[in-house]
């Protein structure tokens, strides 16, 4: 039957309908499957592959509910009849064989066909598709949110889990064990979730609880765990058939353990305990020693970075202020907290601005502070102590320390002090003075500052155009040297003729280099102050003046040697009476001691080293050798209990060596390496050298030589 145009149209619509519906359904089921897998994935760490079966199941359910492939062209025509009145309920005619139609029916059919060409395609399937896509989008958004949202909380344990999980080590598991599982419950402070492993080697956080669950394939009577070869604990059977065993233990330190199934011992398994480290504190600001000069804001900004392996619980600043001087120093302690919340973060950067004035600090006081931090395992740590001091201007101005000693150059210091006083006075009177006068006085002060600077410059050997005494302009000596003709080729002589040579000014002073360096800093400060004074900014000059004064004071203190005034009179010695006491009754002490090496450890280890080397050559162990090896084994067990990672393999190899008869060079190497590590490096000890035997011949020869020489 040739299909008419109308039938084609309807067929086409059906296919479109079905495919759009199908796409929509797939989108919906995708979305449902996604949301329903992402939640268990997040919560229970299910494999993301669960998505595929879920999706198929949901799709099947949806398709069963609405079997879209069952839509026939008749359904379509019914739908068309319902939704398009202009078709006049006659779409069915299109589906019938045109040859069977009556005349009237054929006419109506042609009409409907014409109408069909004009009507818009139905929007229902498109709508279905759009809804499907919309649901898919929502589903995507939801699952994305589910994955992302708890990540803020989860980052910490997730990262730790990677660290904490033990690397896969190949283990020898006793054949009797059918299955086993270790549940590790880390201590609460780590925030780590409990985990399971199918491996006997354990790497856990200190304080973690471990539950062993061992299932054997045959019923056994006893199952023991021996821990560090010292403690032996019998496991409890679950059930009566003796196949399921369990045991729990809290791990506080590294070590190793061994299973014993009805007396049959397993390999040694390693236990590594990862300790919780205290918070590390890094102070990035301020410097360890800070001095606040006059004019600088009296506050400090503290910037700290804290890091911990599990979480930081608390941090605070301990501040101690010292005020007063001499014997009257008083200390005040305070605890300042950071304005931050501690949410067991691993890293946190903190900052705090401390206003020294509000703490009650006066000039001359000192502040010591350190940061104290605590992690979530209540381990506290503290930083180094930092110092902040405020310069006391009053102290600088005081004459203490200058009045009671020899004062060689007092006027210079007084001058700097005087300059400060004058500047302050000028500033005070500024409002009452005419601007012209103010400027002149400021300039005069600047000139004074300059003079002072030049005077100090003299100490450094500076001489310049502006020297107080004027420039030296009489360099007659260069012209005087006419009488002596420079020798031909004498370069230095020629250079002397033209060069202006003095002593090297830098070295011509009495000061040490360190002192000179500080003096130079003083001069710079003075220069800065002079600049401000001469540009009529006395207020700005004041800090520099103070700083210069402070440095000068330091200098003055440095160059002073203090000698206490004492009037000690010692009794004069009488040499004839020295060492003339009666010593008859004084006994002469004699002592006799013998050093006994009680600990045979080193000797045993050294001997077993050679013994193992002999084994490498193929010699079998004798009974004494076995005894010696068991001694060595003791020491290795001790070491392995503390450092299982280093010594456990050696211990296993040693046990295999002492029992097995097969020669295994690698195992011997391993044990020897462990013993070498146990032995400290050998220190040189003096020993007698040997000469050749038959010395009597040589001695005769020597004696004869001696005789011949005489």
């Amino acid at each position: 039957m040739a299909k008419t145009e109308g039938q084609n149209w309807i067929n086409h619509l059906r296919i479109k309908w079905i495919s759009f519906y199908l796409a929509g359904t797939i989108a919906i089921s995708l979305s449902i499957a996604m949301v329903s897998t992402v939640i268990p994935f997040k919560l229970f760490k299910l494999s993301p592959w669960f998505f595929v079966p879920t999706f198929l199941v949901v799709l099947a359910i949806l398709l069963l509910i609405k079997p879209i492939w069952k839509i026939t062209i008749f359904d379509i025509s019914r739908y068309l009849n319902n939704s398009y009145p202009e078709l006049e309920e006659s779409t069915d005619l299109l589906l019938k064989d045109p040859e069977e139609l009556s005349m009237l029916q054929a006419l109506q059919r042609d009409k409907v066909e014409n109408i069909l060409a004009t009507i818009a395609p139905p929007r229902a399937p498109i709508k279905k598709l759009y809804t499907g896509l919309a649901i898919l989008l929502t589903g995507l958004a939801i699952s994305f949110a589910v994955i992302k949202m708890p990540q803020f909380k989860d980052t910490l344990p997730a990262a730790l889990k990677n660290e904490g999980s033990t690397p896969i080590i190949k283990e020898n598991i006793p054949v009797e064990i059918a299955d086993f599982r270790l549940t590790i419950i880390p201590p609460a402070y780590t925030g780590n979730a409990a985990r399971k492993q199918k491996q006997f080697s354990i790497k856990v956080e200190t304080g973690a609880k471990i539950i062993w669950k061992v299932e054997t394939n045959v019923a056994i009577k006893t199952l023991r765990i021996s821990y560090n070869d010292k403690e032996t604990i019998a496991l409890k059977p679950i059930g009566k058939d003796g196949k399921l065993w369990t045991y729990a233990k809290t791990i506080d330190r590294s070590g190793f353990y061994q299973l014993e199934l009805d007396g049959k011992k397993s390999d040694l398994y390693q236990i590594t305990a990862i300790p919780d480290l205290p918070v590390t504190i890094k102070i990035t600001q301020p410097k360890q020693h800070t001095t606040i000069d006059i004019g600088q804001p009296q506050k400090i900004d503290i910037k700290v970075a804290l890091t911990d392996d599990y979480g930081i619980n608390d941090a605070s600043i301990s501040v101690t202020m010292a005020s007063g001087k001499g014997e009257g120093i008083s200390f005040t302690e305070k605890k300042l907290s950071f304005d931050a919340r501690f949410n067991n973060q691993k890293n946190i950067s903190l900052s705090k601005s401390i206003d020294l004035k509000s703490l009650g600090m006066k000039p001359g006081d000192e502040l010591y502070f350190f940061i104290k931090a605590m992690d979530n395992h209540v381990q506290s740590s503290r930083s180094a102590v930092y110092f902040v001091s405020i310069v006391d201007t009053a102290e600088l101005m005081s004459m203490v320390g200058m009045t009671n000693g020899v004062n060689l150059v007092p006027e210079y210091f007084r001058s700097q002090r005087q300059l400060i006083i004058d500047t302050e006075k000028l500033l005070k009177e500024q409002s009452t003075l005419a601007p012209e006068v103010f400027k002149t006085r400021s300039n005069e002060l600047g000139v004074d500052q300059k003079l002072l600077r030049l005077r100090y410059g003299q100490f450094l050997g500076e001489e310049s155009e502006t020297e107080i005494g004027g420039d030296h302009d009489d360099h007659d000596e260069h012209t005087d040297a006419k009488g002596e003709e420079a020798k031909f080729g004498d370069v230095t002589a020629i250079m002397d003729k033209y060069a202006h040579k003095h002593d090297i000014a830098e070295d011509a002073t009495f000061f040490e280099p360190a002192l000179k360096a500080q003096l130079k800093v003083v001069l710079t400060e003075m220069w800065n102050s002079e600049l401000r004074l001469r540009t009529y900014k006395p207020q700005a000059a004041l800090p520099y003046e103070y700083k210069a004064l402070r440095l000068l004071k330091d200098l003055q203190q440095k160059s002073r040697a203090y000698v206490a005034k004492t009037t000690v009179k010692t009794a004069s010695l009488k040499p004839e009476k020295r060492l003339s006491g009666d010593l008859d009754k004084i006994a002469q002490p004699t002592q006799k001691k013998s050093f006994e090496q009680k600990d045979q450890r080193v000797a045993h280890l050294k001997e077993s080293l050679a013994l193992l080397d002999r084994r490498k050559m193929g010699k079998k162990f004798t009974i004494e050798d076995q005894l010696l090896l068991s001694e060595a084994e003791k020491y290795i067990i001790e070491a392995a209990a503390d450092h299982p990672g280093t010594y456990l393999n050696a211990l296993t190899s040693l046990r295999r060596l002492s029992t097995g008869s097969k020669l295994n060079s690698d195992a011997i190497d391993l044990v020897q390496k462990a013993i070498l590590k146990l032995l400290r490096p050998e220190l040189p000890k003096p020993q007698l050298q040997h000469t050749l035997p038959a010395a009597s011949l040589y001695r005769n020869y020597f004696n004869n030589l001696n005789k011949a020489g005489k």
Partner: protein, 593 residues
């Protein structure tokens, strides 16, 4: 041989039968061709069974042979023409005729006058017998490997093991030489391609008893050679020390403690007041130290004394010290003044040299350039070295601080370093131990060994003749020599009555115990393949030397001919057989049809 005759007989019978058939045949056309073809076929068949050989006359030098020895290159063998012989000792799988014993072979072939030797050459034993022969030596390429090596086979506890030698690298690639002990790498050295390099490794072994280290040559990851370095560590002989101090001092206190804890017998006497002495006897029996005399000094290997005390004791005591030194005792004098107080200490001239302040004293051991940690001392007193002196310790600028000289049998050492205990205080135990052991070893009396054993060759090998040479302290009696449980018969040296030797053929690889008059010494028996490069190099050298020395007259070579049997390929006979039988078949089937 038998096959040959059986085949001949069978073929003759076959031929007779065939000829009979041919003659009897009715058709006589081409009878001669057929008879000829039959004869050819049968004779070819015979030669198929028995290959035809003919005598070839080869020109050859009769009185000259080629002798292949160890290390000869297979490519060289292929190029050589002439009669080739190979020594049985050389494991070569060439086609050359093996000679089980060269001496016997040469005796049985007296016409041979010239030997062309290829490879590394002949052993010393064999070289002795080929004197008089004309020899042309074609040495192989230099062996790659350790060509010289030496180390002490017996160490005392805490002594350094020095392994030194030369590695010859004839390869085009660099080689890493590694010393390994107990599976641990100790030291390594890179040897460039085509270079000879001497190596020097040292280690302080930790074991007590016998052990063997390995010297491994590595090229990238490939192990080229792994040589055994066996040695044994024996208990040290402690030296007996006497310390006489004019006043108690930290230096003495720490030295006393260090010696005491290391279990050295030590007597310490220090003046604590006028004529009052404190005396300590550590790790030894108490005896009278009131007077220092020859008998009390005889108990000690070493006397440590300061110059003040040496000046303060009586002249008699000084004289006995001097004579004890003449008889071998060591004397260590510590001085602090520029002016010498006694004649014994005046043997070394001293001078003062001002030193910059805040300078720390950095000492160097002159022998091995060992640099000690710095000492916070301002040293101004130094020593000058005479021609017969051996300076021991100097500072960074080379000024001598500790000097030594020989006096009689003994040694006198003078030290100006006064406060070495600072090393102990600052935890530099190694520096302290190195300094004092060095000083004490240099000073102390040398003990006469009871015996000294030399083994020839340097590396005794399994099933090879080994000569044991023993020097004994007493020469009167015949010593009993035993290796493991086998008694050897010693032979006295005719010139040196204290020297005895014996021949031994080692039976087992590994340590063997040699007991001489109940005193046991160990020596190591190597595998035949151990230290191969070294042995090859030795053989090569001695052969070259031998060639250089031998002045054998080169006789004129006479050429005679020699007969060599050569076989003709069987294929020719097969073709002949095929053609002949083919003709017979063709003739009967086609030409007659």
């Amino acid at each position: 041989m038998e096959l040959k005759y059986i085949a001949l007989l069978a073929c003759l019978l076959l031929l007779i039968f065939l000829l009979y058939k041919e003659i009897k045949r009715a058709n006589t056309a081409r009878i001669f061709s057929r008879i000829l073809a039959s004869i050819i076929a049968v004779s070819c068949f015979y030669f198929l069974l028995v290959p035809l050989q003919y005598q070839s006359h080869l020109e050859r030098k009769i009185n000259e042979i080629i002798l292949l020895t160890e290390g000869v290159n297979p490519d060289t063998i292929a190029q050589l023409k002439g009669e080739k012989y190979v020594l049985a000792s050389a494991n070569s799988n060439s086609k050359a005729k093996p000679i089980p014993d060269l001496v016997y072979f040469l005796k049985s072939r007296p016409e041979i006058t010239k030997l062309n030797i290829y490879g590394y050459g002949l052993t010393d034993e064999e070289l002795k017998f080929i004197k008089g022969y004309e020899i042309s030596f074609h040495p192989s390429a230099k062996p790659t490997g350790v060509i010289a090596a030496s180390w002490p086979t017996t160490l005392q506890t805490s002594e350094l093991l020095h392994v030194q030698g030369t590695y010859q690298n004839a390869n085009d690639k660099p080689i890493k030489l590694l010393l390994q002990g107990f599976g641990n790498p100790i030291d390594s050295l890179l040897i460039e391609a085509n270079a000879n390099k001497s190596f020097f490794f040292k280690d302080r072994p930790k074991q007590s008893g016998q052990a063997s280290y390995q010297l491994i040559a590595l090229q990238n990851k490939d192990t080229l050679a792994k040589e055994t370095v066996p040695f044994q560590v024996v208990e040290r002989t402690p030296m007996k020390v006497l310390i006489l101090a004019s006043f108690p001092d930290f230096e003495y206190k720490f030295l006393k403690k260090w010696l005491y804890e290391n279990q050295y017998p030590l007597a310490f006497k220090s003046q604590i007041s006028k004529n009052k002495y404190a005396t300590d006897f550590l790790n030894m029996e108490r005896f009278s130290l009131e007077q220092i005399n020859a008998s009390s000094l005889n108990k000690f290997d070493l006397l440590i004394i300061d110059e003040e005390e040496l000046a303060a004791i009586s002249p008699n005591e000084r004289a006995s010290i001097s004579s004890a030194v003449d008889h071998g005792m060591g004397l260590l004098i510590s001085i602090s003044n520029q002016k010498p107080l006694t004649t014994l200490s005046a043997r070394f001239p001293r001078y003062e040299s001002p030193i910059a302040k805040d300078r720390q004293l950095s000492l160097t051991w002159i022998d091995d350039k060992f640099r000690f940690n710095k000492l916070p001392l301002e040293q101004t007193l130094f020593l000058k070295a005479n021609a017969n002196d051996q300076p021991l310790v100097a500072d960074a600028s080379g000024k001598i601080l500790v000097n030594s000289t020989i006096k009689g049998y003994g040694k006198v050492v003078i030290s100006t370093v006064s406060a070495t205990y600072n090393w102990l205080l600052s935890g530099k135990t190694t520096a302290y131990a190195t300094y004092w052991s060095g000083l004490l070893v240099k000073t102390a009396r040398k003990q006469n060994a009871i015996q000294k054993v030399n083994i020839m060759p340097q590396f005794p090998v399994l099933h090879q003749k080994t000569r044991i040479i023993a020097d004994l302290a007493e020469s009167g009696k015949v010593p009993t020599l035993k290796v493991d449980d086998m008694k050897l018969s010693p032979r006295q040296n005719m010139e040196l009555p204290f020297q005895w030797d014996a021949i031994y053929w080692p039976q087992n690889v590994g340590w063997a115990n040699l007991s001489i008059n109940q005193k046991v010494e160990s020596f190591y028996i190597y595998q035949k393949t151990d230290w191969q490069a070294l042995k090859n190099q030795h053989i090569l050298q001695s052969n070259l030397q031998f060639i250089k020395n031998s002045k054998a007259l080169s006789e004129k070579n006479t050429s005679t001919s020699i007969v060599i049997a050569k076989a003709i390929s069987k294929w020719w006979f097969f073709i002949g057989f095929l053609l002949a039988t083919g003709f017979l078949w063709y003739e009967s089937r086609i030409l007659n049809a």
